[in-house]
């Protein structure tokens, strides 16, 4: 297990020197935190929100607003859309990081000397996965904490804060986020084993965000609304997916295959 850290630390020292990766890891979370807060702030300072009532929202959402004023519920509706956007982070960051980390090593042929050391393929894979997933999870949690703080400051009364830090959001951010990061890493590993350009690998791996964007637009248009049951099913689904993807990625990550078949 110690070697997983040895590898992860090396990855961080190396891959973060790449400005594309640094940009994704720093800029995306910043944006995802600032955007909802700016929207909240503008909503709070304009008078239009005052006349907002639960009738203006999809019926499935109005149920969630029990005990809130029309205005708070309106704010909550808008802010709710950002829960899914927060979950973009654990998908996008690992895809970028792992693409650069693996395709980079492939093109510079740095894996052969590593494979000649007594490191197991599992440790190597785990080191790379940890290196890609941890910053993503960290960035997601940090963004979310700042966001919650902003919500506490910008909104009146505990209504909105209670929702945002309620079980639904916490479960999404704390449990589903890391699960998504694992899926993203596994996919990036598979794609990277076939790609020769980290940017191409990154772009293909980024397709993992499509299902999430699909959910996002379905929710905005009122088709669905993410509630406790749905997020639970999502967690179960992603866990199953993770197991399958990880098994497949491990298969691709065999010593000999890396040296002789990764082209």
């Amino acid at each position: 297990m110690r070697k997983v850290w040895v590898i992860a630390r090396k990855e961080w020292a190396e891959v973060f020197k790449n400005r594309f990766v640094l940009f994704t890891v720093v800029f995306m979370p910043l944006m995802m935190t600032a955007l909802p807060l700016v929207i909240l702030y503008t909503m709070g300072t304009t008078e239009e929100m005052a006349g907002f009532s639960t009738a203006d929202m999809p019926a499935s959402f109005a149920d969630l607003c029990e005990g809130m004023s029309g205005e708070t519920c309106g704010q909550y509706f808008i802010v709710s859309q950002f829960m899914l956007l927060f979950m973009l982070l654990p998908l996008a960051i690992p895809a970028t990081f792992a693409s650069y980390s693996i395709v980079g090593e492939k093109t510079t042929r740095t894996l052969e000397p590593v494979l000649a050391t007594p490191v197991t393929t599992f440790e190597l894979l785990a080191g790379k996965a940890v290196a890609a997933a941890l910053p993503a999870i960290g960035a997601t949690w940090l963004s979310f904490s700042i966001f919650s703080l902003g919500v506490a400051i910008l909104t009146e009364g505990p209504g909105l804060l209670r929702q945002v830090t309620g079980p639904l959001w916490l479960f999404a951010i704390v449990v589903v986020g890391p699960l998504l990061a694992v899926a993203s890493v596994s996919i990036a590993i598979m794609v990277s084993s076939r790609a020769n350009d980290p940017r191409v690998a990154e772009q293909i791996s980024m397709l993992v965000i499509l299902p999430l964007l699909g959910l996002f637009f379905a929710q905005i248009s009122g088709l669905i609304f993410i509630n406790e049951t749905m997020i639970l099913w999502m967690a179960i689904g992603v866990t199953v997916l993770d197991v399958g993807l990880l098994a497949f990625a491990t298969q691709l990550f065999q010593r000999e295959a890396i040296l002789t078949r990764w082209k």
Binding site: V6, E14, P118
Partner: protein, 300 residues
């Protein structure tokens, strides 16, 4: 120290290494020669437990390839064909990463030791991307040494180095041998192999020859003595050819080129006969076949 029996590797339809038998003794520098695509890198990769043989067995320091791979990786060091350095990391960080992967106890100490030994200590903080080819090669050699391997696989260590740098690396390899390490050296530099190696294998997919450089010479060529005369004459050639131990004789300018079975024994008689015939002898020397001639004859 390294034993291979029937070692074979196929990549799909390509037979890269065919039925190779090797026996490398402990503490020797073993040269591994062969044309491009002869399977040298593939053999090194099999012996250092990076890829598995299609068939056949190999043992390194008693550990069996395919079964004790992790032990082999612990005691062997490898200089891979391409240096494979992390360009964005400093020389020092490149090494410390590998020292940690090898569970080296005194990481900083070993890193310093080999950076100093290879003359890279002053550049330890610079990222590898700024290094010249020779410095990169030296850094890669240092990387292979951090865990004090008893067996070293060097895949073309002096390829692309200037004569001075190549010489430095050769001297370093010599020192490693003096420390008792076994060195498996693949190279295209035949002069280097001749000077450095105790024994040499010439391969081209399969094994073509394996022996000391001297024995290879003796096996492939008669020994040849060159007699320089102040003035040549066909008469001398006749005198020489009449000697029973002479296998061949040729007159070139004012030199007699004589093929002999055993120069140590035959030379005095040969010289006496020439002097008796009135020849003025300036020098007598042995014509050493270069390893290149031997090699080219073998792989042809």
């Amino acid at each position: 120290m390294i034993v291979a029996k029937g070692l074979t590797k196929r990549f799909g339809d390509v037979l890269a290494v065919d039925d190779l038998d090797l026996d490398v003794k402990s503490g020797e520098i073993f040269g591994f020669l062969g044309p491009n695509g002869a399977g040298k890198t593939t053999t090194i990769r099999m012996l250092s437990a990076l890829i598995s043989p299609t068939s056949g067995q190999a043992k390194v320091a008693g550990y069996e390839v395919g079964r004790d791979d992790n032990e082999i990786r612990r005691i062997a060091g490898i200089l891979t064909e391409s240096p494979g350095l992390y360009d964005r990391l400093s020389a020092e960080r490149n090494l410390s990463f590998f020292a940690e992967l090898h569970d080296v106890e005194d990481v900083a100490g070993q890193v310093e030791r080999y950076l100093r030994l290879l003359g890279l200590w002053d550049r330890r903080g610079d990222v590898a991307a700024t290094f010249s080819k020779g410095m990169r090669q030296k850094l890669a050699i240092a990387r292979a040494m951090l865990h004090e391997p008893t067996v070293l696989f060097l895949d073309e260590p002096t390829a692309g180095l200037d004569p001075e740098m190549a010489r430095l690396v050769r001297e370093f390899i010599g020192e490693l041998k003096d420390e008792g390490r076994t060195i498996f050296l693949s190279t295209h530099n035949l002069d280097e192999a001749d000077r450095l190696c105790d024994r040499i294998a010439v391969v081209n997919t399969g094994l073509l020859a394996l022996d000391t450089p001297e024995a290879l010479r003796a096996k492939l060529y008669d020994r040849v003595v060159v007699v320089h005369l102040s003035a040549a004459s066909p008469a001398y050639e006749k005198v020489v050819s009449e000697q029973p131990f002479v296998r061949s004789v040729e007159l070139k300018d004012n030199k007699l080129v004589v093929g002999l079975d055993d120069p140590e024994k035959n030379n005095p008689e040969l010289i006496r006969a020439l002097v008796d015939a009135g020849a003025d002898i300036q020098f007598v020397g042995e014509l050493r076949r270069s390893l290149e001639e031997i090699y080219l004859r073998l792989v042809k």
